[in-house]
Amino acid sequence: MAVEAKPLYSSKATEHQETNAEELRKEHLMLDPMPRDEMNQMVMNAMHTTTKKYWVFLIGFGLAVVVLLFGAWGYMIANGMGVAGIRRPVFWGIFIVTFVFWIGISHAGTFVSAILRVFKAEFRRPFTRAAELMTTFGLAAGALYPLIHLGRVWVFYWMIPYPNARWLWPNFRSPLVWDFLAITTYLLSSTIYLFLPLMPDLAMARDRTTGWRHAIYKVLSLGWRGTEAEWLRLRKAIGIFAFAIIPVMFSVHTIVSWDFAVTMVVGWQSTIFGPYFIIGAILSGVSAVVTILYIIRSTMKNFDYFIRPEHFDGLGKLILIFSMAWAYFFFNEYILSWYGGEEALKQLLTLHATGPSAWVWYLMLICNVAIPWLFLWNKKIRRTPWIMFIITLLVNVGMFAERYTIIPLTLGHQRNPFDWGIYNPTIVEISIVLGTLCLFIFLYLLASRLIPLVPVWEVQEGQMSHTFRKVGKTEIPSVTELE
């Protein structure tokens, strides 16, 4: 680190290096500043480094998308929904489960970068972009499902409100139309929200590339120079977005939950579904951020500088909190249903816990409650990335199991026992589900080499505003408000 005077850095701190400060520096990215040009170079390097392995994975996942997703989907379109395992009375199966799952995942980006931004949680800085990318791609994968699960996908546009030759407008009283509007809103806004803070970094990339990349970055960065007016504009836009996208995020998952809660289905009709789904979504989303950060950190060049145990630690705490909140909502939902004593509901809850698919229910509780509660209180575990990777993967397995319990397992046991039915997903359904997972990974792999995964300017801004301040005998980090 350069020793020259930095207005925003306490020069004393550099002179009197104490072990405490040294440790803190190692610990916190914000206290471990690096010159801009070096940081740029690191990010650009990470972006440009493509190993053979990378190409194998990229092409492999690309092929998987074509075969698993589009192949199976095409087969289903050609033959009919019957190739999926859904049946009377389980008319929604793993497609809607995965839909809700992806929409849940997509909450992470917004949560991390909007809510943490609003509350100025500094540790967010290096991974907001990674989380926002997850939002966008998660939504892209999830938004396919309302199409995939349509019986006649070739007329999906009949849901879109526009003046048409049929002289018909969609039914704005239908939660599916709300869904359509909410997801469109969220997809567009989260993409914009990804794009806005990206502009300065695109400009940075533009300055460091030639050829086709340069051309693309030039267009995308909209001629960014970094004038005061531009920064102000950007700050204003991000400011408005960070506030506006939070209610949109809440509304999206609430509306997704209303797809279920407005019905007469036993076990769906619940007033608590909105917040219950939101908490579940954030739990699953934040966990997915950790999973992805681990992968990025261990596969991409220079990322161990940006992503540090402190980030796993912070996110781990969040996961623990949301796991507790989720358990609270789950219990709330459960005890009230149980206490009400409605025959069908009681039967349903009993079947969830003792029926042939009870393992799904227990998987949900183990992964969503037991595992986070048992492990995440421990700082050492929270700071060990690979353990966090496993735990967060399991949390998402649990969240998938939760949606599976709520959708096909609940639909299968309604008021008329004569019509009960057990749903088994078919190979086609599983293939499509894996296909969207591959799509997500494929897009992420592609994006990791096309856009700077770290918002360099935000990290720089953060590092500039962090400093050591002497208090009594020791120096402690302090944050300056730059904006």
Partner: protein
């Protein structure tokens, strides 16, 4: 819906908000003349075309229900009941409804064929050659046999004329349905009791208690639609009175399921029960105990049948209190070794109550009942085996499928040089035939059907084609008439009909002025009314009244039902389903319409009491091997744990297990006829319920296609 808004309003509104839509969609010069509406209506609001309705008779079973067929553009669309017809009064069952699936079945035989037996080696023929083959068969009049089904009465009449003229063997008639109904036994019992070989008519509409011994009259028994209507009237009598149905049956059929009291009695013990009830009723009513019922003690009856004495007492009291209790002998009670005596004991209960020829009582129908006893079929098989049959004509029945394997019909058939089938479908018998000369299906044919037991009046139901024959088929009557003309000899001399219609017209000429609900001065008018109304019948109720000739003084001898070793040997109950005698199995909608009791589709199954199944370690959907303990033949069939069957009985539906009969029938389930015992009762009726079987799990499983949720209904997963 779209009328709710005038065009003007519509344009006004759309002008406000969706000018864009108008610009996009309402452009072009022609749009001024076309009134467009939003795409809001269901297409069912647009009607096209006019239908033509034809009255004819359902040929799916011998009950002779009148149907009205809706046709449009020369196609038969929908079968509806004929509201005027005395049998069904506009109602219709599943079998009748699906007869269009027989007519338009993709597996129909398209024209006359010469075949190699047992092979798929088929040579198409033309009808001239076919008639020559039939002529050659008829020429050898001493060695010709006819095996007919219970439908196509006019064909039976013609063949009878031919055999009479040629002095050859009279035609045989066989239907497994009639066997399961115990029809021959009932006719025989009626003959012995009342002196007439006719089916009795049970007026359940007006009776207040029904003692039903094994007759599944809501499903297949004799005339299910007529009895279903009777059941309705029985339940909905004047002043809110509701009849009380008591049903004795080892396995709960749909009829027993609708009973107020189902008594699971051991098969073969129904006679004892009837006697015991008769005895107690006589005691209650302080009548002298008739000889017929004297020879029984209540405790014996209880021990033999497994029905408790208190229950017997209770039932007898209900019967004694009733005004018109009616006792129906049918099905299961009759197809045991005791069948004939049982039938008499049951019919006797009606005499005990003086319930003959009164509303709510028993009547006798007119006309003879065309049922061949199985002992005669057995004789035919002997003749065949002896080489005395050169040509056999088979029409309207599928003996290879329907006769018990132990009878050896299939083997006997191999000894007959020429086997000619008139089947419309490639069934099991066609496979074993040399020639198929396909008849029209019921909806393409002319004919008549005598109504036997479903009508409270004399009735003949007319059959007429509702569509043009869709294949190169020929009416069998016409084939025989053509052959009869060319064969020469006595037949040509005596059979003088130009064609089928001529034959029919000559046959119905006697009805012209015999007091039907319409009369006509001459044949053409009569003929048109005959076709228009779907038959001819008397305007008011009129049946023969059976006489009380002290029949109750006849003693009854019953054999004790055989003892079975527990959990090793079981009574096999075979019950009729919507597949009828088995030819319904190629109607996909009959296959897919669930069985009323088990909700199973597309397969056959064996019903086992869950307790028994537990003892044998058998689960639902297990495949078990069911072996006859007398004959040794065995079949494999899937288990359905059925809560409403005696633990010492197992039950199988009849009609599945086809090895031929087209794509919808083949390879589904198994045919209990393969393990039926060939034991006959005193009436010559096959004693189907005397079949004893052992059950062995095979370790294989096959899920049955059930409509119910096993988890939901039985709590099993």
């Amino acid at each position: 819906m779209s009328d709710n808004i005038s065009r003007r309003d519509f344009l006004k509104l759309s002008g406000l908000g969706i000018t864009a839509a108008a610009v996009m969609t309402g452009c072009g010069p022609s749009s001024r003349y076309v009134v467009r509406h939003a795409y809001v209506d269901m297409p069912e609001y647009n009607q096209t075309g006019v239908s033509t309705f034809y009255a004819t008779t359902c040929q799916e079973c011998p009950a002779g229900c009148g149907i009205i067929v809706r046709t449009q553009e020369g196609r038969a669309i929908k079968i509806e009941g004929n509201p005027n017809h005395p049998v069904n009064l506009g109602k219709i069952c599943s079998r009748g409804l699906t007869s269009v699936q027989g007519l338009y079945n993709p597996d129909r035989i398209g024209g006359p064929q010469k075949r190699s037996r047992g092979e798929q080696n088929i040579t198409p023929m033309n009808w001239e050659d076919a008639v020559t083959v039939v002529t050659n068969g008829l020429a050898n009049s001493g060695k010709v046999a006819f095996l007919l089904g219970l439908t196509s009465d006019h064909l039976f009449d013609l063949v009878t004329e031919i055999t009479t003229a040629a002095n050859s063997m009279p035609p045989f008639r066989y239907s497994s349905l009639a066997t399961l109904e115990g029809r021959a036994t009932l006719v025989k019992a009626t003959e012995e009791m009342f002196g007439k070989p006719n089916l009795p008519y049970f007026d359940i509409s007006n009776s207040d208690v029904i003692l039903n011994f094994g007759a599944s009259f809501l499903e297949t028994w004799i005339s299910p639609l007529a009895y279903s209507r009777g059941f309705k009237n029985f339940r909905k009598q004047k002043f809110g009175k509701r009849g009380y149905l008591i049903s004795f049956e080892p396995r709960q059929s749909l009829t027993s399921a609708n009973a107020d009291l189902w008594v699971p009695a051991l098969p073969g013990s129904e006679g004892y029960l009837a006697m015991a009830i008769g005895k107690i009723v006589a005691q209650i009513k302080s009548l002298p105990i008739p000889l017929m019922y004297e020879n029984i003690t209540i405790s014996d009856a209880s021990k033999i049948s497994g029905v408790s004495e208190t229950k017997l007492q209770e039932i007898a009291e209900i019967v004694a209190r009733a005004e018109h209790p009616i006792a129906i002998p049918g099905g299961g009670a009759l197809v045991t070794e005791n069948g004939l005596q049982t039938a008499k004991a049951i019919l006797g209960l009606n005499i005990l109550h003086k319930n003959l020829g009164v509303p709510g009582g028993v009547y006798l129908t007119n006309g003879d009942s065309p049922t061949t006893n199985l002992d005669e079929i057995a004789k035919l098989i002997q003749e065949m085996n002896a080489g005395n049959i050169a040509t056999i004509f088979i029409h309207g029945t599928n003996p290879v499928f329907e006769l018990p394997k132990s009878l050896g019909f299939t083997e006997a058939l191999k000894k007959v040089p020429t086997v000619i089938s008139f089947s419309s479908f490639e069934d099991e018998t066609v496979i074993e035939s040399d020639y198929v000369f396909p008849d029209h299906t019921g909806l393409e044919s002319f004919g008549y059907q005598r109504v036997l037991a479903g009508s409270d009046r004399e009735a003949i139901s007319s059959v007429q084609p509702v569509v043009q024959p869709i294949h190169d088929t020929k009416a069998t009557v016409d084939v025989f008439l053509a052959a009869a003309t060319s064969v020469g000899g006595d037949i040509s001399a005596k059979i003088k009909y130009t064609d089928e219609v001529d034959f029919l017209q000559q046959k119905i000429t006697p009805l012209l002025d015999s007091g039907g609900f319409y009369n006509a001065p001459e044949l053409p008018t009569f003929w048109s009314k005959w076709l228009q109304y779907g038959g001819w019948w008397k305007p008011e109720m009129g049946l023969e009244i059976p006489e009380d000739n002290n029949q109750l003084s006849e003693k009854i001898d019953l054999k004790l039902p055989k003892q079975l070793s527990e959990n090793k040997e079981f009574h096999l109950i075979t019950f009729g389903t919507q597949m009828g005698d088995g030819h319904g199995a190629n109607r996909p909608w009959l296959q897919e319409t669930p069985d009323p009791m088990t909700t199973l589709t597309w397969n056959s199954w064996i019903e086992i009491n869950p307790d028994t199944a537990d003892k044998l370690g058998i689960h639902d959907d297990d495949i078990v091997s069911v072996a006859s303990t007398t004959g040794g033949e065995s079949i494999e069939v899937v288990v359905y744990r059925y809560p409403a069957i005696r633990p010492d009985c197992v039950a199988m539906p009849f009609g599945q297990g086809h090895t031929a009969l087209g794509r919808y029938a083949e390879g589904r389930g198994s045919n209990p006829a393969e393990i039926w015992s060939s034991l006959l009762n005193q009436a010559g009726n096959l004693a189907v319920f005397e079949t004893k079987v052992s059950i062995t799990p095979t370790g294989k499983r096959r899920p049955l296609a059930r409509q119910e949720s096993k988890a939901g209904v039985y709590g099993e997963h």
